[in-house]
């Protein structure tokens, strides 16, 4: 007859034996995986070395110079192109004199009473005939920097943005901005230009 303690110890022995073998096989599996992974890492490292060497080879300065000659034609920076501070950058040349802006009151009087102009949807290909003289002033105030650029008044607005502006003058807000003075004199320095921009806002 198997007594209780004997049974107990038998179970314990069987369990530990089973557990030991389970752990052992698990460790073996892990070791195999580790070996494979290390080998893979080695392979990858070897590939990286080859690719590094190839990258260096493809980036030889003479090869880059040849490719530059074929595709880009860049030239070394000339000394006179180097500027050490923003203050050294020359300003753009003065723009040709702008045509005198039309008196805004006349524009309002001509456009406001016509309901058609206000109802024309944005993006319409034929802007109202009265709008164009106002368009340059609008563009100028939207982008103060371009005030110093050469912007000749264009009788027909071409981009959708300008068309929308051209169609807009019937609105009271547009009339309000149009009545403000755009900076007319050319800024002498960067600081002055920034001052002008903040003033016009």
């Amino acid at each position: 007859m198997i007594r209780l303690p004997t049974l107990f110890w038998l179970i314990i022995v069987a369990t530990t034996g089973f557990a030991m073998f389970a752990v052992k096989y698990q460790v073996q599996g892990l070791a195999d995986r580790l070996t494979r992974t290390v080998k893979q890492a080695d392979d990858v490292e070897r590939d990286i070395r080859v690719l590094d060497a190839e990258w260096a080879y493809l980036n030889r300065p003479d090869a880059l110079a040849q490719m530059n000659q074929r595709f880009l034609s860049l030239v070394p920076i000339a000394t006179k192109q180097l500027r050490t501070s923003v203050a050294d950058i020359p300003m753009r040349p003065a723009p040709p004199p702008l045509p005198p802006p039309p008196p805004p009151v006349v524009t309002v009087a001509a456009t406001a009473p016509t309901p058609d102009a206000a109802t024309i949807p944005a993006g319409n290909s034929t802007p109202p005939a009265v709008a164009p003289p106002d368009a340059p002033a609008q563009v100028r105030l939207d982008e103060p920097v371009s005030a110093v650029a050469t912007e000749s008044p264009n009788p027909v607005a071409t981009t959708p943005h300008e068309k929308r502006i051209a169609a807009a003058p019937a609105r009271p807000t547009a009339v309000k901005t149009a009545s403000r003075q755009a900076p007319t004199h050319r800024a002498a320095s960067l600081n002055e230009l920034i001052a002008q921009i903040t003033e016009s806002r």
């Binding site: 070791a31 590094d52 060497a53 260096a56 980036n59 030889r60 920076i77 000394t79 180097l82 050490t84």
Partner: protein, 590 residues
């Protein structure tokens, strides 16, 4: 049984109090005495076991319950595959660009005993691999040996193609091979290794032992971009003037780091012993020769900066000192005359500006032979320089230092120096007077060596002004790098052939430093035997050959080095770099 019966003889004993059958028999007499003798032994044994178990239990508690006290690694080290044998360390430039690396490359060998049809195998191999001779391969395959090399260092594509043939008896042996991606660009700096990975030139040879078996790469002070620019400009001037060769060096004057080093003609480190198809006249030995560190040359007028510096520093003369350069000096069978002399009394700045041999000879005389040698020794011009290369030349100078030697050495003849030494000593003249050893290894920021003071800071300040004057009004006018405040000195020397100077064989060099307001970098270009061409109006002197090359190099490298161009005509810069004695005066051009 008989013993139990003896106990049972007691009639008063209760029935259930029956002694167990295994009750020890305690006889009287000799047996009892023997048993009594065993007891202490048993006790000792059990005590020993108890102690052993207590120790084991204590150790168990220590290992499992007190994690801090474990001294053994928690997981024992486990190396399923041995780490790859340490190869040779990579070499990278100061920005980490790979200059030399080791790649695995398969080499093909055969076991002729396993070859079935040698003729067929030879046929197929020759068709697959270029550069094989069918008869040779056939002879190898029928040799009956167990191992013959077919071809070493195959490319991956070739290895793949051989594998595709599927021939038995062919095997690959994985070998390591050194690869130099930039080819000839760094030939003399990096050098090359032989087939068994022995460094045979350049850094590969100089640092051979530390490159072996090292994992992390060796970082050089070389900047690949500057190296390319210097190489290109030097090759251009060598080509333009059909020179025999050239040497170029860019150095950080404040640390001694060499940022670029070019010697022409050069070689391809992958095939060091082949001839250049474009220049078949260049021999292998000539191409291997490092003109910057190994070649020693009579550098000529560039040497005058050292004479002037020692004259000023020793107090033998001053910035306002004057010497008579009206007539040539005759001494023994020598005549010292000027190339483009002014034939009048000249001040010390003028002597350097107009590169007067007579004037420098007189300054050298004023310094004297002993002090001259002492200063040259301090400048490191009397002994071999130190560098991480093995190709190091040493200066040559007369054993007996006579008066005529004092004078000729004063203007750079009769003493030969490597361009490397000239650059190191030149750096010391402008950086405040500290000589630091040149190095090809990148120094950590602020890691410049202490150096030794060779001239006073005041003399160094004078030298800056003088070098600037040479470029503004003297022989270095052709440098033409506006905005970078270049200063420098030209040198045109007749080459020595046997015991005489060869009249038509020149060595033109220019040592330029920029920006002179606070010197940072030195560019040295030396052209060996330039021949005049049309663009130089028949001149092959340094002012027409080396100086423009230095100027072009500076214009290209300054933006990369972060040196900002300034307005050279601004009064503060002009005043800072004009000697006091010459301020406000009209300066005669060269």
């Amino acid at each position: 049984m008989s013993a139990a019966f003896q106990f049972d003889d007691n009639p008063c004993r209760p029935r259930h109090f029956k002694p167990p059958p295994c009750m020890p028999v305690v006889p009287d007499g000799p047996a009892k005495r023997a048993l009594d003798g065993c007891r202490p032994r048993l006790l000792i044994m059990s005590l020993a076991f108890i102690i052993a178990f207590v120790v084991i239990a204590g150790r168990l508690i220590q290992v499992t319950l007190l994690p801090g006290s474990i001294t053994v690694p928690r997981i024992a080290r486990f190396d399923p595959v041995p780490p790859p044998p340490p190869g040779r360390a990579d070499i990278v430039d100061r920005n980490g660009k790979l200059l030399a690396t080791t790649l695995e490359s398969p080499s093909l060998y055969a076991n002729p005993r396993q070859i079935i049809d040698a003729a067929d195998v030879a046929q197929k191999l020759v068709a697959t691999l270029p550069g094989l001779n069918r008869n040779e391969v056939y002879a190898k395959l029928t040799s009956g040996k167990g191992f013959v090399w077919i071809k070493r260092h195959l490319t991956p594509d070739q290895a793949y193609a051989v594998n595709q043939l599927g021939l038995p008896g062919l095997q690959f042996q994985h070998e390591e091979r050194r690869v130099y991606p930039y080819g000839a660009l760094l030939s003399h700096v990096v050098g090359f290794t032989g087939i068994d990975d022995n460094g045979e030139a350049g850094i590969e040879r100089g640092l051979d032992s530390s490159l072996r078996g090292r994992q992390e790469s060796v970082q050089l002070s070389i900047d690949l971009r500057l190296q390319y620019i210097l190489h290109e400009e030097l090759a251009r001037v060598v080509d333009d003037f059909t020179a025999r060769g050239g040497a170029g060096l860019i150095m950080n004057v404040n640390t001694g780091e060499i940022l670029a080093m070019v010697s022409l003609p050069d070689f391809d480190p992958s095939h060091p012993d082949t001839l250049d198809p474009r220049h078949p006249e260049w021999t292998v030995a000539e191409r291997m020769f490092n003109r910057v560190t190994l070649g020693d040359y009579e550098i000529g007028s560039v040497f005058k900066i050292f004479t002037t510096a020692m004259g000023l520093d020793s107090g033998a003369t001053s910035m306002t000192g004057r010497f008579d350069a009206t007539y040539p000096i005759h001494i023994g069978r020598f005549t010292i005359s000027d190339y483009h002399g002014k034939h009048r009394w000249e001040t010390v700045p003028e002597i350097l500006m107009y590169s007067s041999n007579i004037g420098e000879a007189k300054i050298a005389l004023a310094v004297g032979a002993d002090r001259q040698q002492e200063y040259l020794r301090r400048f490191g011009l009397m002994s071999a320089p130190t560098l991480e290369l093995k190709e190091i030349g040493r200066p040559h100078y007369p054993a007996k230092w006579r008066e005529v030697n004092v004078m000729t050495i004063g203007f750079g003849h009769g003493i030969s120096e490597t361009p490397l030494q000239i650059a190191s000593a030149g750096s010391a003249l402008v950086n405040g007077g500290i000589l630091r050893p040149a190095t090809l290894l990148k120094l950590p920021p602020g890691g410049a060596p202490q150096g030794t003071r060779v001239i006073s800071a005041e003399t160094s300040d004078h030298m800056r002004k003088l070098l600037r004057m040479v470029v503004l009004y003297g022989t270095g006018e052709m440098v033409d790098a506006p905005g970078y405040v270049v200063g420098g000195k030209t040198g045109t020397a007749d080459k020595v052939e046997g015991k005489h100077y060869a009249e038509r064989k020149l060595l033109s060099s220019f040592l330029g430093v920029f920006p002179m307001t606070a010197p940072k970098y030195l560019v040295l270009v030396m052209v060996d035997e330039p021949h005049p061409n049309k663009s130089s109006h028949g001149y092959a002197t340094a002012g027409w050959t080396a100086a423009p090359a230095v100027g072009r190099t500076i214009v290209r490298i300054a933006p990369l080095l972060g040196v900002q161009p300034v307005d050279e005509s601004s009064p503060s810069i002009v005043q800072a770099l004009t000697p006091e004695s010459m301020q406000g005066k009209r300066i005669e051009a060269y």
